[in-house]
């Protein structure tokens, strides 16, 4: 539950980064789109956050504040946030796909 919600939260935050910036909204309008109000997105964010385990929320929000993204994918044991190669011992346990990057503190998605 936490994993799916965190992934959705991450994608929502990417969208919100666009919706909060007047220049980006202006670009969308120039392209012929009609972006709506972002209030519903902010409400959804609050709802999703409430569904994530507290410890993950803290890690996620801290990394988001610091780097602009709280969660990144892994590729061949390389964190795509800080590009540090992690040891095999950093792999998630069976049935899990989230860990923390030992280097930058972002949440890592291992799929």
């Amino acid at each position: 539950m936490t994993e799916a919600t965190l992934l959705e939260l991450h994608d929502l935050d990417l969208q919100l980064a666009e919706a909060r910036e007047a220049a980006h909204v202006g670009k969308l309008k120039k392209l012929g789109f009609e972006p709506g109000e972002r209030l519903s997105l902010e409400r959804l964010r609050a709802r999703l956050l409430a569904g994530v385990e507290r410890r993950w929320v803290q890690h996620y929000e801290r990394a988001l504040q610091r780097y602009g993204r709280g969660l990144v994918a892994m590729r061949e044991r390389v964190c795509l946030g800080c590009f540090v190669t992690l040891p095999t011992s950093a792999s998630p346990g069976v049935g899990e796909s989230l860990t923390l990057c030992e280097s930058c503190g972002r949440i890592l998605y291992w799929r």
Partner: protein, 155 residues
């Protein structure tokens, strides 16, 4: 100078010549699944959810029978353009009320900046600005013709 490629349809698997689906939600799901099969997406369900949410905030119909849904998502592993045609037309909520026959799905990885993503969306829209190009896309017999058109458009 920065070059941002739209990544034209690289193989037939990313070109859906005649969608039989009728609902926007089903079309987006089908396109997300096709992108996953082609190896450009790791999680079609997450991408679908992201596309639907974006659609609610910023409907992707740009008029003249064209829709350009797009997403920056953790679900995307490779930037891709997926093209689908619906000869019967789809109800997409366009402001000009024209049924959508061409759907260009622009997929960007979450590592890409908003500016790079919007640049890719802009290039995809630019392809369909002229009636000549829209007709070519609608009448193309196979993916190779579509690819050639995208290359001709210097994308």
């Amino acid at each position: 100078m920065t070059t941002v490629a739209v990544h034209p349809v690289p193989d037939t698997s990313l070109f859906l010549p005649d969608l039989k689906l009728k609902r926007k939600e089903s079309v987006l799901h089908e396109m997300a699944c096709v992108a996953q099969k082609a190896g450009a997406v790791r999680d079609a369900e997450l991408l679908h959810e992201t596309l639907l949410r974006r659609e609610r905030w910023c409907p992707s119909a740009v008029g003249k029978g064209v829709a350009v849904p797009n997403a920056r998502s953790l679900a995307v592993t490779e930037p891709r353009l997926v093209i689908a045609r619906a000869r019967r037309g789809l109800e997409w909520g366009a402001s000009d009320r024209v049924a959508v026959q061409l759907v260009l799905l622009v997929l960007s990885t979450s590592e890409m900046s908003v500016d790079s993503h919007l640049e890719r969306v802009m290039r995809a829209i630019a392809i369909t600005r002229t009636q000549r190009n829209r007709l070519k896309l609608l009448e193309a017999e196979d993916a190779r013709i579509v690819t050639a058109l995208l290359r001709e458009a210097a994308l």
